[in-house]
Amino acid sequence: MIINFNQIFLENPTRQILRDVSLSLTESRIGVIGANGSGKSTLVRLINGLVSPTAGSVVVNGLDVSQNLKLVRQLVGFVFQNPDNQIVFPVVSEDLDFGLKPRLPNANDRHFRIKETLARLGIEKLYERAVHELSGGEKQLVALAAVLSLEPEILILDEPTTQLDLRYRNRLMHIVSRLKQPVIFVTHDLDLLQDFDRVLVVDQGQIVHDGSPRQALDWYVVHMSQPMGQGA
């Protein structure tokens, strides 16, 4: 994986969201942490073109996102914070099946892929379940399965554990740790990034720290843990 951010600026009419961000991401496990409104989610959304920069470019494995959006989105899987906003069909198998249709025209192939993906995540029993009956943790695993079934080359998870209890959070992290794809993980939870290769700290639209998990987390705790309204 190579993801290059080249002098990214992103602003809206009221504020600057990202300022002069230049990065090259090559590691297998990359964490992104930052306060609310720091720009961390916007940063990762640039990767699959959900957001376009005001200036600069993002290149994913040699593909400029702005010019190869469809191809990039085939490579990059994205899991969002709220699973209810990701699962678009009322039954689990239907949701995964619809996403696979363009890639696997054969129904048997799709059925096999869906079963295999659900089994890999330990949720094969949810195959015929109605989505609205599932718990939050089960829904998030289904959302992850829907993305993994497409076999993306890169996986981005944007605060996927926010709505999960401890049990499902640990289960999700165990699944993530076993994934073969490179993973970019956005979170508030510092504990989740201990085993990651690299951690970026985002604050007010800039990368304020970039290093090993230990260094980044120490920096984050020292500089970001003060209550709002108090100086550094």
């Binding site: 994986m1 190579i2 090559t26 590691e27 297998s28 496990r29 959304r45 699959n48 959900l50 994913v60 494995n61 040699g62 593909l63 469809k70 191809l71 989105r73 085939q74 490579l75 990059v76 899987g77 994205f78 969002f80 709220n82 209810d84 906003n85 990701q86 699962i87 678009v88 069909f89 009322p90 039954v91 239907e94 099946d97 619809f98 996403g99 363009p102 890639r103 989505v131 609205h132 829907a146 993305v147 497409l150 080359e153 994934l179 073969k180 794809q181 490179p182």
Partner: protein, 230 residues
């Protein structure tokens, strides 16, 4: 009748009901979606033309019975049914007041029968199958209207998916307002419901775009990807 015979009879009834439920459900589920939807259209049209109150009430009763049989839930929840019952009641009272009691009952039985028939079709047809029908129907008109049949079918599936979410959202907003001591009225609910719905729509759009749902997908190409795999 002694207790033993009564319990045996109940057991037999239970087995028959279970057998009938499974059989009826299997028969309805195995029917093609297009056939069921077409049948629903013909049934609805024929029912609108029917005016005999005895026939209407009989058909309504049969359709409700079929609906009760194919449901997976055992009990009918009054909490879920009361808005529907209220709507039917209002329509019945209005028709009875305007056109007489008989017309009121005609309207009521029509509504009940059509609702039960539609519910039966919904319960025995997968969303994917219904979407396939929608896509098949829309495809001949797609060039005329410049519409993407897959996207229209997706819209159909989304509508079904969002219904329980909107109900849940309504309850959450109502509970939040009750917790704040605000009287729950329609105009108090409007803004939070609208804001949350718009936010959800945006989030859903992002998710659909990210998964490329309803789009044609180009063949995967080999990209410049030095291995960062574990």
């Amino acid at each position: 009748m002694n207790t033993y015979k009564l319990s045996l009879l109940n057991r037999l009834r239970h087995i028959c009901r279970l057998g009938l439920r499974r059989t009826l459900r299997q028969v309805l589920q195995s029917m093609p979606a297009g056939f069921k939807l077409l049948g629903l259209i013909f049934f609805s049209t024929a029912f609108i033309l029917l005016h005999n109150i005895v026939w209407l009430s009989s058909v309504a009763l049969v359709m409700v019975w079929v609906w009760l049989i194919v449901r997976t839930e055992r009990m009918v929840s009054w909490q879920k049914m009361w808005p529907l019952a209220l709507s039917f009641g209002v329509i019945f009272l209005y028709m009875a007041w305007v056109s007489g009691l008989q017309e009121g009952f005609v309207a009521l039985f029509r509504l009940i029968a059509l609702w039960a028939a539609a519910q039966t079709v919904m319960l025995t047809t997968s969303t994917t199958a219904m979407m396939q029908v929608v896509e098949t129907v829309v495809t001949p008109f797609s060039k005329l209207c410049r519409a993407n049949p897959a996207r229209i079918a997706l819209l159909f599936g989304l509508t079904i998916r969002l219904m329980p979410l909107m109900v849940q959202q309504w309850h959450e907003v109502r509970e939040a307002q009750q917790a704040r001591g605000v009287k729950v009225k329609a105009h108090n609910m409007l803004v939070p419901m609208l804001v949350r719905t718009l936010n959800r729509a945006q989030a859903l759009t992002d998710a659909i775009d990210a998964r490329q749902l309803g789009e044609t997908v180009q063949p995967k190409i080999q990209t410049h990807s030095p291995s960062a795999h574990r």
